[in-house]
């Protein structure tokens, strides 16, 4: 868009939206929009509850998560052990609560990591353009056109399986969508009137980036990161299930399911593998609902 055409055009929609965004009404509309999405509200409630249980695990868990009790091994659910005990006599419910800490924090840390990487790389690509853009985007294509799990298991086999490595590797593989979003935002906003205006008043590059461009990218990034968290939790669960993620005795929902690789456990001790599986489904479903609600609430163009 050249400045000649914009001079004669009617008041810019984007500028109006900018003014509207500055007023406190924005938050009100966001909440009222979000609240209309019933599933998202349910999802958020469930998620907050899970987070609370995870944080308060030492207080609310009926037993110590790693306390071995050989007298009580593989006991079906009872009043003492609401979800039964595993092959080492550890309380399944308590482990489930502690595992929530691990699984949820893997989701949060891994996604936080790739949001940072994606924002920096996408920002560089969008701001500098040219060969920087070319390299970053080809790199993104490469990472995107690859089944993450195969790369991840290769890297984990080299670095060794641990919760930290899982977070790290998911973080390193997840950035391309974020980078593409941020880059796109830079490209569309670079020549907008309000940016030109800011530049003409002598604003530095850093001010333009942090004050004018990045805030506009937050909406799509937040939505993407929310869905990404669900993906990361699923990926961690899969890796830990294969024995390549979080290592015992630390409990994660994925490695609790690992027990079900034995047919006897699968057939005769469903209390060992159904609860962690259900926990994953509930957590991931809740996050996906919240993500859907956020998308509807933050993006007026998405309709509905």
């Amino acid at each position: 868009m050249s400045s000649a055409t914009t001079l004669t055009s009617p008041p810019n929609q984007q500028a109006l939206a900018e003014i509207a965004a500055k007023t406190p009404r924005k938050n009100a509309t966001f909440w009222s929009r979000f609240r209309r999405h019933k599933l998202a509200v349910i999802g958020l409630t469930v998620l907050l509850l899970m987070g609370l249980i995870a944080i308060a695990a030492p207080l609310v868990a009926p037993h110590a998560p790693n306390a071995v009790s050989l007298a009580n091994y593989r006991k079906p659910p009872s009043f003492d052990y609401l979800l039964g005990t595993d092959s080492q006599g550890r309380d399944v419910l308590s482990r489930l609560m502690y595992a929530a800490r691990i699984s949820l924090s893997v989701g949060i840390v891994a996604v936080a990591l790739y949001v940072v990487i994606g924002t920096v790389l996408g920002g560089l690509a969008g701001f500098f353009g040219g060969w920087v853009d070319g390299i970053v985007m080809r790199l993104a294509d490469m990472v995107l056109s690859f089944p993450a799990i195969i790369v991840i298991i290769t890297i984990v086999s080299i670095l060794g399986p641990s919760i930290l490595n899982v977070m790290l590797v998911i973080g390193l593989m997840g950035w391309p969508p974020i980078a593409r979003l941020v880059r796109g935002e830079f490209l569309t906003l670079r020549d907008r009137d309000f940016v030109t205006a800011s530049r003409s008043t002598g604003a530095k590059d850093s001010r333009i980036i942090f004050r004018h461009v990045l805030p506009n990218a937050t909406t799509p990034v937040i939505v993407n990161a929310t869905f990404g968290m669900a993906q990361a939790i699923l990926l961690e669960a899969g890796l830990s299930f294969l024995g390549l993620g979080v290592q015992p005795p630390t409990a994660s929902w994925g490695n609790m399911l690992n027990a079900a690789q034995s047919i006897t456990t699968l057939e005769e001790m469903p209390w060992l593998w159904i609860p962690p599986g259900v926990a994953i489904v509930i957590a991931v479903l809740a996050i996906n609902f919240v993500g859907d609600g956020l998308r509807d609430a933050l993006d007026p163009r998405s309709g509905k």
Partner: protein, 319 residues
């Protein structure tokens, strides 16, 4: 068309090279020395450190990494992927016998997900905002939120262990002549476990695409001419389905990744279970080979999608 194909292939080559460079660096970060890993410890003790050093030199392990990479690339181009650290078999042979089971599983999953996804997506779009549309949306969310391996465990628990209808592992019944019905029975559970989550995005995109197309002028014209609703939908559908090709192609990496865990759960003799076994045995040569083959498979599927897209959509020029 030939030129179009050639251009597409040329574009894929840098991506493929980039992937191999990245993988080569990663695999070379692995601890352990291939010489000491391969040698008989007694023999090594007899020969002394000079001999080991000589072997390293002879194998080219003392060259800088870029030189070793180029050597590796040359060998790879001639089909030599090296040898397994574990059983000394050629990597190409080990992977070769695992490709077909994985591809077969992927193809069946693709067919299932399209057969489920496209009709449900059409229904969802035609009955927009109805109960069934809402239900399908929620089902879609549910299927992408269940870890495939958990779904697999539930399926095994119900259909193999409790009902005893279907086998829980392998591709064939061991010790029986290979029959089509037998391999079909073995296919049902793993394909379902993977196919359900794959169908969800297809439902969503078919719905969105059809809703978009139905708003187009030519569909309104068809309606205005008095065409029956079924005809109108068929009219729109042909164009609405074109973007689905891209969605399916973009999903191939997800699908290939999905086979890794599913193959492990069902003891399916494909590349995924080979990858897991290689991780456990730290068999980096095999892992490297699997990564390479996976990359080629994905680039080929993208290429295929481009070609099909160009064939069905005359607006796309080959040049």
């Amino acid at each position: 068309m030939g030129q179009f194909l050639l251009r597409r292939i040329l574009i894929s080559i840098p991506v493929l090279l980039g992937i191999t460079i990245a993988m080569y660096i990663i695999v070379n970060l692995a601890p352990g020395d291939p010489v000491t890993a391969l040698m008989n410890p007694e023999q090594m003790a007899n020969m002394g450190p000079e001999w080991v050093e000589h072997q390293r030199e002879a194998l080219g392990l003392n060259d800088p990494m870029p030189v070793r990479y180029v050597k590796w690339l040359k060998e790879t181009a001639t089909g030599n992927l090296g040898y397994s650290f574990v059983d000394r078999l050629p990597v190409s042979e080990k992977i070769g016998e695992r490709i077909w089971p994985t591809v077969k599983l992927m193809l069946v999953v693709l067919v299932i997900s399209v057969l489920i996804g496209v009709p449900l997506g059409i229904i969802s779009a035609l009955k927009q905002y109805s109960f069934i549309d809402y239900l399908l949306t929620i089902m879609g969310f549910l299927t992408v939120s269940i870890p495939s391996f958990f779904l697999a465990l539930i399926l095994i628990y119900v259909f193999s262990l409790k009902l005893d209808w279907l086998p829980a592992s392998g591709m064939y019944t061991v010790g029986q002549p290979r029959a089509f019905t037998d391999s079909l029975q073995h296919m049902i559970l793993p394909a379902t476990a993977l196919g359900l989550s794959q169908a969800a995005p297809i439902i969503r995109y078919t719905r969105a695409s059809l809703l978009e197309t139905i708003k187009q002028d030519y569909v309104t014209v068809a309606r205005a001419k008095g065409l029956g609703e079924t005809h109108v939908v068929m009219h729109a559908l042909r164009n609405a389905l074109i973007p689905i090709i891209t969605i399916i192609a973009l999903n191939v990496p997800m699908l290939l990744g999905g086979t890794v865990i599913i193959e492990q759960v069902f003891s399916w003799p494909g590349m995924g279970s080979l990858a897991i076994a290689s991780v456990q045995g730290r068999d980096y040569n095999v892992l490297m080979g699997i990564n390479l083959i996976a990359a080629i498979m994905i680039l080929l599927s993208n290429l295929l999608a481009d070609v099909i897209y160009a064939l069905v959509d005359p607006r796309i020029k080959y040049s």
